[in-house]
């Protein structure tokens, strides 16, 4: 049955509908694959039994002919989405006993469409990280390794568990969240498609907040078509989220299968940064040629404030996080470490409950909001953010979509950057600007590095124009013909 895990999501969906196999068979195959993939440490919680009961329900619905968009499709859910009755930790010690009595809107939408939950995916603590090394549950490994080299490679982050488990063919797709690149960068590092929708496209209700003005849920999948299907199921207006856009959900899959003739693709010159590895620049140039060959027109555009996006992000996101994470105080849920008095209890709980990177960001955020510093840091960053958003608006007057690299490097070895926060932050240098402007972005696997690791290219679209992003992504996908898979070293490691 191992073959059942090698379908794309759309193939599996079609096979289920055609009754080639049952949801139970498909789920059993994935439960087994998840078990075999334990060496990757990609899952924070496996819910095999629950998955089977969901699969049985799906089989009944399929039999009656009233299945949803994802009926019977097994997924992994990033452990940032609250799941009713299933422990949800955000990768943090401070929440490692937390069982939400409610279901996030995005996951509720997925279950409504018939999807099956295989379990909760490991992640960087509170989604703060770009290598999935900050989880309280330990680092996640990338299924990819450099050929002939046993050193563990990071899957990227913060949706590293989601990326790793899908890349390992143990889930057909996974949910992720992206605040500054946390879907796109891991997709690039693991040879997957990762889509961050427009801010407001997916409800944030029930997703543990990192930075409220930036957080967006989105899918990690093996194909652009799968991303389109997932996005249709995940998104939609939610009256419980004041920042949720009241727009109809397009059938994103329906825009696929066309071409990109005559579309205008912008190439932002500011993304051609000093020190960008030559192979990444080469891949980017290749991407430009692919789209030109497919009939699109490319042109240089200017995004003059690009270099300020990352430092502005590292003010805004920690500021919001410092406030969002104040609720983890040992009073109503999660870890409590007793102290001499209330304040001591708070301080011990948070010192023990939060890892080093979370503490660092909470303190940076506290500092930049504090009396006397607000104007110089937070306010200035939000003004710069306005300029970044304006840059994109201007650029989109002349083009339909932008093409850039997803990340400035291939996946690196575990431990390589964990001592240098700023070096780690540079992972998101190409993904953060679109996040700051709330725009949709997708990473499409485009090739292998010289070391044999996947590399992605990013497309950025206008607000709520995921359809355009997906169309062009499909063209890129067709041209790149990326079909490499990692060796299944983890299957034999035990």
């Amino acid at each position: 049955m191992a073959d059942l895990t090698h379908f794309t999501l759309s193939e599996a969906r079609d096979g289920l509908r055609a009754r080639d196999f049952s949801a139970r068979e498909l789920t059993e195959a994935h439960n087994a694959a998840i078990e075999r993939a334990r060496p990757l440490n990609a899952m924070a919680l496996e819910t095999a039994e629950h998955a089977l009961s969901m699969a049985d329900t799906a089989d009944q619905r399929i039999a009656k002919g009233d299945g949803g968009l994802l009926e019977g499709v097994p997924l992994a859910i990033k452990d940032l989405f609250c799941t009713d009755g299933f422990r949800t930790t955000a990768g943090s010690h401070i929440l490692d006993t937390f069982v939400p009595p409610y279901e996030s809107t995005v996951t509720a939408n997925l279950w409504r469409e018939g999807a099956v939950m295989l379990g909760k995916a490991n992640m960087d603590e509170f989604a703060m990280g770009s290598s999935n090394e900050t989880s309280y549950f330990g680092p996640v490994e990338n299924p990819w390794r450099r050929p002939g080299d046993n050193r563990p490679i990071v899957p990227g982050g913060s949706s590293g568990g989601s990326a790793s488990i899908v890349a390992a063919r143990a889930a057909l797709a996974a949910t992720g969240t992206d605040t500054g690149g946390s879907i796109r960068q891991p997709a690039s590092f693991t040879g997957l498609v990762g889509l961050k929708p427009t801010y407001g496209r997916c409800s944030r209700w029930g997703i543990i907040a990192f930075a409220s003005s930036l957080d967006q849920a989105g899918p990690l999948t093996r194909t652009v078509r799968d991303a389109a299907i997932m996005l249709s199921a995940m998104s939609g207006h939610d009256p419980k989220d004041s920042t949720s856009a009241n727009l109809p959900v397009p059938n994103f899959e329906a825009v696929l299968g066309g071409d990109v003739k005559g579309l205008r693709v912008g190439i932002p010159s500011e993304y051609r940064m000093d020190g960008l590895p030559a192979e990444i620049d080469a891949l980017w140039q290749q991407g430009i040629r692919w789209l030109e060959d497919a009939g699109a027109e490319t042109r240089e555009v200017d995004l003059p404030h690009t270099k300020y996006a990352l430092p502005a992000y590292y003010i805004v996101a920690p500021a919001e996080a410092s406030s969002n994470l104040a609720r983890y105080d040992g009073v109503r849920y999660g870890l409590r470490v007793e102290g001499d008095d209330l304040i001591d209890m708070y301080e011990r709980t948070r010192a023990e409950g939060f890892g080093a990177e979370v503490q660092r960001r909470v303190m940076i955020g506290t500092y930049v909001l504090s009396a006397g510093y607000y104007d110089a840091y937070y306010l200035q960053a939000q003004k710069v953010r306005t300029l970044i958003a304006r840059d994109f608006q201007t650029a989109f007057e002349g083009v339909d979509v932008l093409l850039t690299p997803t990340a400035p490097s291939e996946a690196f070895a575990t431990g390589d950057k964990s001592d240098d926060p700023i070096a780690m932050y540079f992972n998101d240098v190409f993904t953060v600007p679109a996040s700051m402007a709330g725009l949709p972005g997708i990473s499409v696997p485009a090739g292998l590095s010289q070391a044999g690791l996947p590399l992605g290219l990013q497309l950025i679209g206008k607000a709520f124009d995921e359809e355009m992003v997906l169309r062009v992504a499909e063209a890129l996908e067709d041209a790149a013909e990326f079909n490499a898979e990692p060796d299944t070293w983890w299957e034999t490691s035990t």
Binding site: R360, I364, S370
Partner: protein, 95 residues
Amino acid sequence: MSLDKATVSRIARLARIRVADEDLERLGNELSNILGWVEQLNEVNTDDVPPLTSVVEMQIPQRRDAVTDGAYRDKVLGNAPESEEGFFVVPKVVE
């Protein structure tokens, strides 16, 4: 930008994170590095630029005034480290 120990200690206190004295200096250096790096934003002329309030152009949605939620005390208290007689319990607060 270099944060002295007293500043780090004040920030940690505001953030309610216990930091041991011997860690203040190391943490101060780490934070200073990050702050020093973000300060390049000062190069940007933002005169007459309004701060971004929201990336979505929409009106704040408003709910109807109706009781639609609450009334599930067991669920609210279900994850509490300590509760008694329907209350959350915390170490004594002296005002």
